[in-house]
């Protein structure tokens, strides 16, 4: 059943902004991988990213057609399934650089933890929009959503993948905050976390993670060790100056001074070659995207849809904030990619699904519902 209103309420502005961001992403990945592309014109990560993009677009289109209301009933099952996958990863995951994040099925590698970022949104949105949970829920009503969040966060931390854990935590917190949380609960939550701070610092964090946090405070302590990444990133961004060094002319990028340049530090590649003007444009595009999605949340038909959009929007928002914050040296270096810009299949597909869900809610925002 294709309603005319479905198409009328499709928010094209989101799609245009999204395409602009994706284009910037492709340009940056092309530049970051230029050496590889020259060496292997037919088999490189840039082409693979294009494939991922096609898959992502397909996922986005598919996600438009199912009324999001139907997800309410299946989301607990999906949540459980992805949680199970995270357990499988712990046992059978592929180890890269000392952490198990990847599952390999039929030659394709993917990160279940990426999918958890959207699944948790559906799960929490479903919980908070059920009839017996009011706005500003009581403490008792918060126990379950906290458990929904803590379970995947712990599993992801064990991989270890601090970045994804922080993402999931940030998404959940935003949803709970949006539903409404009383100040005293917030205070209780913060206080109850405090005793964990020291043991987490002492035991849960790897030495390199601790160093990265310390380095943020004093980046010049160890310019060749833990501070190296952030220092090189700042040099790359700063050396772009107002107008940038020009496409494919970034020396920090080309001469491999930038670490993880096609994933975590893709923003630095862009900022080096396009300068302040380019980076400001990218940041404003992100703001515009978030603004547009928040607008969808505000106009959505019901609380469920609204919370889905808020969750998906928070996913994009926090990843962008943390990633850019870390490459410009304001936040510690944790492995979080820049949405739609960084290279990465699982992430891109999940993000496309998120946009699909937002459009899904937007399309069905008319206040009438079939009985």
């Amino acid at each position: 059943m294709m309603d005319r209103r479905l198409i009328e309420n499709f928010d094209w502005s989101i799609i245009w902004v999204l395409f602009a961001i994706i284009s910037i992403g492709l340009l940056s990945i092309y530049s970051a991988l230029y050496v590889q592309i020259q060496a292997h014109p037919t088999n490189n990560l840039f082409l693979r990213q294009l494939v991922w993009l096609a898959v992502g677009m397909t996922v986005m289109c598919c996600s438009l057609f199912i009324d999001y209301q139907r997800l309410r009933s299946i989301s607990p099952w999906v949540y459980g399934f992805v949680l199970l996958l995270l357990l499988v990863v712990m046992v059978a995951g592929k180890e890269v650089n000392g952490s198990r994040r990847w599952l390999e099925i039929a030659g394709f590698q993917f990160q279940p933890s990426e999918f958890m970022k959207v699944v948790i949104v559906l799960q929490l949105a479903g919980y908070f929009s059920s009839q017996d949970v009011p706005g500003y829920p009581s403490l008792g009503k918060l126990i379950l959503p906290v458990c929904f969040t803590i379970a995947p966060v712990l599993l992801v931390l064990a991989e270890p993948d601090l970045g994804t854990a922080i993402s999931i935590l940030a998404i959940s917190t935003t949803i709970i905050f949006y539903v409404g949380i009383r100040w005293k609960y917030l205070a209780i939550g913060a206080l109850s976390l405090l005793p964990f701070l020291v043991p987490v610092w002492e035991h849960a964090l790897k030495p390199y993670q601790k160093r990265r946090i310390l380095i943020l405070l004093r980046p010049d302590l160890d310019p060749l060790g833990a501070g190296y990444h952030i220092r090189q990133s700042k040099i790359a961004i700063g050396s772009g100056m107002l107008w940038g060094k020009g496409f494919l002319n970034g020396t920090q990028n080309k001469l491999h001074f930038l670490p993880e340049k096609h994933t975590d530090f893709i923003f630095s590649v862009w900022a080096e070659e396009w300068g302040f003007v380019g980076s400001a444009v990218l940041i404003l595009l992100f703001c515009l995207l978030i603004f547009l999605t928040l607008r969808v949340a505000g106009r959505s038909r019901d609380r469920y849809g609204s919370l889905i959009v808020i969750g998906m929007s928070a996913y994009i928002l926090w990843q962008a904030i943390i990633n850019i914050g870390m490459v410009i040296g304001l936040l510690p270096v944790v492995g979080i990619t820049l949405p739609f810009v960084s290279y990465g299949g699982s992430s891109l597909i999940t993000l496309c699904f998120a946009i699909g869900m937002i459009e899904n809610v937007s399309m069905r925002r008319y206040v009438f519902q079939t009985r």
Partner: protein, 620 residues
Amino acid sequence: MKNKKPVGLKIINWESTETVSFQRQHIALYGILLIFLTIYLLRLWHLQVLEGSSYRFQSENNRIRIEEISSPRGIIFDRAGVPIVENRPAYHLVIIREDIRDLDGTIRELARLCERNPDDFFATVEANRTTPKFMPLRLASDLDRDCLARIEAQRIRLPGVVIQLEPKREYKWNGTAAHLVGYLSEITEADFKSEKYQGYYPGEDIGKVGVESAFEQYLHGKRGGRQVEVDAVGRRIRLLDEVLPISGRNLWLTLDMDLQRTAESLLEGKTGAIVAVDPRDGSVLAFACSPTFDQEKFIRGLKKDEWNALTKDPSRPLLNRGSGAAYPPGSTYKAFVAIGALKEGAITPTSTFNCPGYLQYGDRKYRCWRDAGHGGVDVERAIIQSCDVFFYNTGLKLGVDKLAQYANMFGLGERTGIGLYGEHPGLIPTSWWKKQATGVPWQRGETISISIGQGFDLVTPLQMAMGYAAVANNGKLWYPYVVKRIEGSTSDEIAEIKPRLKRKIPLEQRYFDLVKKGLTGVVESPGGTAHAIRDPAYQTAGKTGTAQVVGVAQGANRKLLEKLTKAKDKDHAWFVGYAPAGDPEICVAAILEHGGHGASAAAPLVQKVIQAHLKGKTDK
């Protein structure tokens, strides 16, 4: 909406309180967005616009490395083109800390490969903590072959580790002509600041003493440099700019390496010097000092205790005995006394003095070396037999200031001008000098001592060689010179150094002829003091000298005394000679500290040098 409910559809209303509360959250989210937008844009403005040029500079620093291209120092050849001092490649272990991720691990690995103590390396790194991280830092100098091979094999795994090639001095005959050639040592802080060493880099070697120092400006080339673009692990991507080094100029010495080696072998185990010059132009043919020192040691870097050992060694190996040390000339001085006395009319060619074996002056007896005396001798015989009493009388007639005037005329008492560091001017006393130096007026008795080259008289072997050369060539006093050609990299950059006449000594030929006849007689006539060294192949002229180190008591038995004297109190043995006597080609001065008699100790050495020179020439 209240009364007209469409069939089949249900209105879903937000609870009124909920809408309001959600709006608050909405605004809060916009607020968060705005806050981050502002902070990030300000941060980017700060990084890219305010600090942009500084970061641009750092990114250039990141990618651009300045590499030095060291310039080889000029080679030093002997007069025939035999290299005396060459260059060899030395390999230094250098790290660029900026390119090293794991400094500790890298240093430990390098120490293991070099079989050195890692603490030394850590100390070097610690000492250079404040120098920029992109500057190359030398951990070890002059690696040996095995160590070099081990490091090269591991280089791929060790980013930021560089092997730096630098030409180093190589001494083909270590210690040969060391005092003349000199040595190198690393430029000191004080030198580095001085005008002379402008444009030098820290860590460069500069010449110390000898030709290495005197011709520093020619020998030292100019370092070149290279600007290369490197990637994050220090691999060279491309060459951006290059300034080629200018290599130092080569020097051709006047030295004859064969003669030098002969002279040095003659001095082996002895303390003294042999200086051979060409009386026709003043060029130095041999310049041997003994004991000598190890020049290589300076290249490797002298440790403090090694330096102390070298400077405190009682045999003073660093002393340049050829031109940097002065000795009483003894009887070798007599030739100049004779020529002055003839010119001044104090004596005539035929005037004689009677030598009873001593000269009574006041209440003191001045002895002749021959206790039995020489009887009546004229100037020629006095030279041949080295009669002291003849010259006591002559000296007394001339007086101290006239003696000094003629000695000065032949270059004694002044620096020869060879241009080497630390030349000793010697000392030829005058009455004025004595008054100035000691406050006591000149005593006539002292004139007696100085007329036979004792007392205050001090000369260097080089001065003696040059002075006798001036006698041999009938009055041409040359500046001695050791470098005859300065050779650049192209043929039009060759400068030949011309002999320079210091002065023409204004004396009549007949005086020269007479004195030279005497000097020839010293070797050639049967009564001559050095007749034993005669070589029938050519005529040799010369003069023996035995310079007292310790004053001999009045009336002491000399023969007995000689036997009792300890080695360190023995007389200095001199001989200065030239050959062939008629047309001199070489003039040699030799001194042996505490060598005993000039005739028996020094004269044979001189003759061997002369033989080597004249024979060597006919062989060639």
